[in-house]
């Protein structure tokens, strides 16, 4: 199987869907001539032309709302946010309109829009550019939220997202863009809402998603070698819909849970998970549910300190040992 980057995997998904469906369009700041702020869309303009690959002005509320209006009439826009952090200036369009139009119209209108872009800390760009809004987004019934960790997942999930008839918010990660992974050449789809056990284990379940999956895999290796602990890692891949069954099955097996997330802890995705796990697997738990999140403050700039604010393998190892105590 070819090894390609997470960035290329997303690009391939876009190219395949652009090829397949003439109603798919890619719009965003710098996506066309500049080849994408993170080069995700590199070469797409050349291949598909300016009708399909469209550079927008810096007007997130305007162009996201415009894409949404177009989606109501059957266009399938894939909108790039240069950073998901900029969702705040388009909040009304993303969460008042995209999330609510279907409902308020009594099911008469669908909004098959995808909004994608990176949502992560760890790049020393300060608090304004480091938001991880998956909890805020997923709090809105009507939308779907996807956070892929690997090139394989990114491609298969994005293709499903583009074909989905509900609004899908796709949260990537600038630090993962260069990561390589095996991606088959043959077409495949990964259904939204299907978690994956990324590592099998028996002593502790780590429930996580996004870049924290990569950190957790590293931590699990060390825990195995140095502490003789067998960790199972469940990658949610999708926050809403949520594959809680895979989580519960793992908890039933290991009886201990550590949730790891690149989220501020208050009312995070992990908070919801912890509630659901205790509610539905209380009898399987040998210990309280543990959680490792981002240290609760705006994202710090200072490079070495930001690494410590976010979950990282060392912090995960420490949290895992506490969860096993």
């Amino acid at each position: 199987m070819p090894l390609i980057t997470y960035r290329e995997a997303i690009r391939h998904a876009l190219a395949e869907e652009l090829q397949r469906d003439a109603n798919v369009v890619v719009l965003g700041e710098e996506v066309a001539q500049f080849n994408g702020a993170y080069k995700v869309t590199e070469g797409l303009l050349e291949k598909f032309g300016p009708k399909r690959i469209v550079d927008t002005p810096i007007s997130e509320a305007g162009f996201i709302g415009m894409g949404l209006g177009a989606s109501m009439l059957g266009i399938r826009p894939v909108m790039e946010l240069m950073f998901w952090s900029f969702y705040s200036v388009a909040f009304d369009q993303i969460l008042n309109n995209a999330a609510n139009v279907r409902y308020m119209s009594g099911g008469q209108i669908n909004c098959p829009i995808v909004i994608r872009g990176p949502a992560n800390g760890g790049t020393n760009v300060g608090a304004t550019h480091s938001h991880t809004p998956e909890n805020v987004l997923a709090n809105h019934p009507g939308v779907k939220v996807v956070v892929p960790a690997t090139p394989y997942d990114a491609k298969g999930l994005l293709k499903s997202a583009i074909r989905d008839n509900d609004p899908v918010f796709f949260l990537e990660n600038t630090i993962l863009y260069g990561d390589k992974g095996e991606v088959p050449e043959a077409e495949y789809l990964i259904p939204l809402g299907k978690a994956e056990v990324k590592r099998e284990g028996t002593d502790l379940t780590i429930v996580t998603y996004g870049r924290c999956v990569i950190h957790s895999l590293k931590a699990a290796e060390i825990l195995e070698k140095e502490h003789d602990v067998s960790v199972e890692i469940v990658d949610l891949r999708c926050i809403r819909p949520l594959d809680i069954d895979t989580v519960l099955a793992s908890v039933a097996k290991t009886n201990r849970v550590l949730i790891v997330e690149e989220q501020k802890p208050f009312a995070s995705v992990g908070s919801q998970l912890a509630y659901m796990i205790q509610r539905e697997a209380f009898d399987h738990l040998d210990a309280p549910i543990h959680r490792l999140a981002t240290v609760d403050a705006p994202a710090i700039y200072s490079p070495p300190v930001e690494t410590e604010q976010l979950p990282n393998p060392q912090r995960i190892i420490k949290a895992a040992i506490e969860a096993l105590a």
């Binding site: 305007g62 894409g67 209006g69 109501m72 009304d92 279907r102 099911g107 779907k144 659901m276």
Partner: protein, 366 residues
């Protein structure tokens, strides 16, 4: 509190004097007698529907939340929507009853929506501010001031993308023009020459704030900053609305040219039923509009002079409109409420189409 009528009101008064020619504009001259009666009838139906809804509201507990009445502005929606072809689309804000009737929606589900009934046009899920009927190219009904304007621009984008000859009429109030999203949409529309006609229904006030207390400069003229065409007209005479809008809609459909059109109108009722309407304008101002510029009276006079209407027909149309409003009330009263199980329907397409669902996992939480 009494204030003298505002400068805009005086300006409005001046501009109705010169309306004589609009009936002879080709778009109006070509109307049949039946077409003219239909325009008149629609305005009367909107008026009677809303008056009846207000009575139901005031009777208590029947209708909840906000009720923003369109009374006084009927010629705007009726005039604009009467020009719609099959690829033309409409979107507006929360003062949306008039547009809904103007595009041809049945008043029974409209009233039932106010009652929060399952038979409402949005199944009781949207309420007064959120009427929709995509089958009639009517995309709402939006509660956030200015929030619908990027959506309307997107309708135009889709029209152009599909190579259709249509236009997206995107209505907003005079207060909405100060929202950032509106300006972002203007820029996109002009930059990409999208077939959208932004219609500012200037009724002089955004809630209790008059135009001169909220907006610098001329509202539609802001289009010049984007090199967009713009126009202004009075919205009391449905002929004038049609004559003005026809030009801009044609440019949108045929040349994909966007425009901003300010239509000066007036609402007789408070901002919503919750507005006591005694702090920001005078009774005298309202009465002056009612007496001299009521869109139904203005058109009734014109059609009477043209020999299209007579007293008997006027009476008949009015009686039918009142009966229709009463029937919509009876329908609403007799209709069931949605059930608690209905709360989670119409949220996700996938949840409502389980046989075609591709995703897995939980969509809803408790």
């Amino acid at each position: 509190m009494s204030k003298k009528p505002s400068a805009t009101a005086e300006k409005k008064a001046d501009s109705t004097a010169k309306d004589a020619g609009h009936g002879r504009a080709p778009v109006n001259a070509s109307l049949s007698r039946e077409d003219k009666i239909e325009l008149y009838r629609k305005m009367v139906r909107i008026r009677r529907f809303e008056e009846r809804s207000l009575r139901a509201y005031q009777a208590g507990k029947k209708i909840g939340g906000f009720l923003h009445l369109y009374i006084g502005q009927e010629a705007v929606a009726v005039g604009c929507c009467s020009l719609m072809g099959k690829d033309d689309h409409v979107i507006t804000a929360y003062r949306d009853h008039g547009h809904a009737i103007a595009v041809g929606m049945d008043t029974k589900p409209l009233m039932a929506e106010l009652y929060g009934k399952a038979t409402g046009c949005s199944k009781g899920k949207g309420g007064s501010m959120h009427y929709f009927d995509p089958s009639r190219n009517y995309w709402g009904g939006h509660g956030i001031v200015g929030g619908q304007v990027p959506l309307g621009t997107g309708l135009a984008y889709a029209i152009k993308y599909k190579g259709l000859k249509g236009a997206a009429m995107t209505f907003m109030g005079d207060g909405a023009v100060n929202q950032g999203a509106v300006h972002e949409a203007y820029n996109l529309a002009a930059l990409w020459q999208l077939p959208v006609v932004f219609v500012i229904e200037n009724n002089g006030y955004s809630m209790g704030t008059s135009q001169e207390r909220s907006s610098a400069g001329d509202l539609a003229k802001r289009a010049e900053g984007y090199h967009m065409a713009w126009g202004q007209c009075d919205g009391h005479d449905v002929y004038e609305v049609r004559a003005t809008m026809d030009k801009f809609l044609r440019a949108a459909r045929e040349e994909s040219k966007p425009a901003v059109v300010e239509i000066r109108t007036y609402r007789y009722r408070g901002h919503s039923v919750a507005d006591p309407d005694n702090t920001y304008r005078t009774r005298a101002e309202i009465e002056e509009y009612r007496r001299t510029k009521d869109p139904i009276q203005v058109f009734q006079d014109k059609l009477t002079a043209e020999g299209v209407l007579d007293a008997a027909l006027i009476e008949k149309i009015d009686t039918e409109a009142r009966t229709e409003a009463d029937v919509s009330i009876d329908f609403s009263e007799a209709s069931p409420f949605p059930t608690v199980d209905d709360i989670q329907k119409d949220v996700y397409w996938e949840a409502d189409n389980p046989a075609e669902r591709k995703s897995q996992g939980r969509l809803f939480f408790d």
